[in-house]
């Protein structure tokens, strides 16, 4: 299925979880500190990452810590 990840179309496996997506993009091993995910503009808490499954066409934002003033 297709989702929109950080503004770009991306094909992912059916019913992938938020945690699965984070692993897919190289965030595995992370406890989520310094990262956040929003699905259709709603923030998904870390505790829900393994439970929340994505569906076709959803807009997903995955952000991480960077240096900033």
């Amino acid at each position: 299925m297709n989702i929109v990840l950080n503004g770009a179309a991306r094909e992912v496996q059916e019913r992938i979880t938020v945690a699965g997506l984070v692993r897919d993009i190289g965030g595995e091993g992370s406890d989520g500190r310094g990262m956040a995910v929003a699905v259709d503009a709603a923030v998904v808490p870390h505790s829900e990452w393994e439970k929340v499954e994505l569906t076709e066409g959803q807009r997903v934002e995955v952000v991480g810590a960077i240096q900033g003033g």
Binding site: N6, G7, V22, I25, G26, G27, E28, G29, S30, G32, R33, G34, M35, A36, V37, A38, A41, V43, V44, P45, H46, E61, V62, V63, G64, A65, I66, Q67, G68, G69
Partner: protein, 267 residues
């Protein structure tokens, strides 16, 4: 006796240092780490951006290891909507309710958009955030931000990264005079004297990034800023003398020796 400047208190939390350092603009994490250590800062700002490839572990690990309080910003947001969502993402990413709220109106000046800023601040305060808004040096806007429940107000001294210093010290003084929450000078500092001036005006703290990060020697500049913030605060607490047009002798005039003007100086 050793005299120390008093510490900073925001929303019931106390810190010894009144200098808040932005982590942006350093050429390496190593220089950033050294500079922050030298600055004595206990609060540092951080940001969030889209992750494309890998987990951004090292920055947070580095800052956590140093025992720093991470204050996420909403840099780059132009609307209240985006700033609120970014703050919510930051709350999850950094596990904190605190946010340095930035809502920019224009990418040339990076001046805050006061209308969007106030709207975002109101929503975030209702959401339970400890909101520290980066604001214009406008006393009325600062008052409005305080009235809706912001934990501090952070007026700019000059545009972000401009290094122009405190361009309107009179406005800054008015903001300080009326504020019931800490006033943190945010943006504009170029060198140590600028930070000292902000503190002498009565700001409770100074936030800076570029002035340290983009200095030729960021670690030395960090040390300079630590000294300047402390010196400025001490001077403010000590109470400066008023400015006067004419001189006022500091040596007593009474008891001077009297000389006869007809005696030659040649002995």
């Amino acid at each position: 006796m050793t005299v120390d400047a008093t510490g900073l208190e925001i929303a019931g939390r106390r810190w010894g240092s009144r200098l808040i350092v932005g982590t942006g603009g350093f050429r390496s994490l190593d220089v950033m780490e050294q500079a922050i250590a030298e600055s004595g800062a206990e609060i540092v700002t951080v940001a969030l951006r889209r992750v494309e490839a890998s987990a951004p572990g090292s920055l947070v690990e580095t800052l956590d290891r140093a025992g720093l309080f991470l204050l996420p910003n909403t840099a780059g947001c132009y609307t209240a909507h985006d700033a609120v969502l970014t703050a919510r993402m930051a709350r999850e990413a950094y596990e904190t309710d605190w946010v340095k709220l930035e809502v920019i109106g224009d990418d040339r000046t990076l001046f805050p958009d006061p209308v969007e800023l106030l709207a975002a601040a109101e929503t975030l305060v209702e959401d339970g955030f400890v909101v520290l808004p980066y604001t214009n040096d406008d006393p009325i806007l600062a008052r409005r931000l305080e009235e809706i429940g912001c934990a501090a107000v952070m007026p700019l001294g000059a545009p972000i990264g401009s290094g122009m210093g405190i361009r309107n010290p009179y406005n800054m003084s008015i903001i300080v005079e009326q504020a019931g929450v800490p006033v943190i000078c945010d943006a504009g500092v170029g060198t140590a004297s600028d930070a000292a001036i902000a503190m002498e005006l009565g700001c409770e703290g100074v936030l800076m990034a570029s002035a340290i990060a983009r200095a030729q020697d960021p670690v030395r500049m960090a040390a300079a800023m630590r000294g300047a913030v402390e010196a400025g605060r001490l001077a403010y607490e000590a109470g400066r003398i008023p400015r006067r047009l004419h001189a006022r002798a500091s040596t007593a005039m009474e008891g001077r020796a009297e000389f006869h003007s007809d005696v030659s100086l040649d002995g």
